[in-house]
């Protein structure tokens, strides 16, 4: 089981801030494919991954990063702090 978090407009498009997912995905990219195929709202949120960022256990990562041992995956748009 993996905890998946969504922020900003990703959260709004998918309609929830977090969910627990049973997945066999080996990489972030594979997880994204699984999510895309679920429902239209996921397909919409993940339509363009170049517009997205991902964090694994609260560290920024790339979409080809492995998920082995990861407990928390977060998807969000580029950050706009400061």
């Amino acid at each position: 089981m993996i905890e998946v978090l969504y922020f900003a407009w990703v959260r709004e498009r998918i309609g929830l801030p977090r969910e627990r997912i049973e997945s066999q995905a080996k990489t972030v990219a594979e997880l994204v494919e699984e999510l895309r195929s679920r429902e239209e709202r996921y397909a919409a949120a993940f339509a363009d991954t170049t517009a997205l960022r991902v964090a694994l256990d609260q560290e920024l990562a790339s979409f080809d990063a492995p998920l082995a041992g990861v407990r928390e995956v977060a998807f969000f748009p580029p950050m706009t702090g400061g």
Binding site: F7, Q58, G81, G82
Partner: protein, 145 residues
């Protein structure tokens, strides 16, 4: 070194007075304050963040600044939640023996907070609310460090 992430407003003058008071041996103190700009009919702003990761990401950015420059102290305060036009969003303070270090570290902290700390701004206007898009120039600003 201090990192504060909070929804409550902070007292800019009191924070600067306290920071300056504890680094009196520093010689040079630089502060940056980011304010919600009341322009384009903005009625409010909502800042979302990623609790847990936010504190870690900022602490790492501060650690990096301390590694790169000779700093006596550094402070980052960043708010989340609803903010009104004219309110302070965040502040950074740096203290160093020489002004060059204090200025460079403050700019470095700002550049990284903009693009590497998990905050997202949503602006409200009469027509509705929209997420602020990240600027290419902010991403480009990281390249100078």
């Amino acid at each position: 070194m201090g990192v504060v992430v909070q929804s409550a407003a902070f007292d800019l003058a009191a924070e600067i007075a306290e920071f300056s008071g504890r680094v009196l041996g520093a010689g040079a103190v630089v502060t940056f304050t980011g304010v919600v700009r009341p322009e384009g009919g903005l009625t409010g702003m909502e800042i979302e963040h990623y609790p847990g990761m936010t504190e870690r990401a900022i602490a790492r950015i501060v650690d990096e600044a301390v590694r790169r420059w000779s700093l006596e102290d550094a402070l980052v305060i960043h708010r989340y939640g609803p903010l009104k036009p004219g309110e302070a969003i965040m502040m950074v303070a740096t203290a160093a023996r020489h002004r060059g270090d204090a200025f460079a570290a403050a700019e470095f902290l700002m550049d990284y907070l903009k693009s590497r700390a998990p905050f997202w701004k949503k602006e409200s206007r009469d027509g509705g609310a929209t997420w602020v898009a990240a600027k290419d120039e902010d991403e480009a600003a990281l390249k100078r460090w």
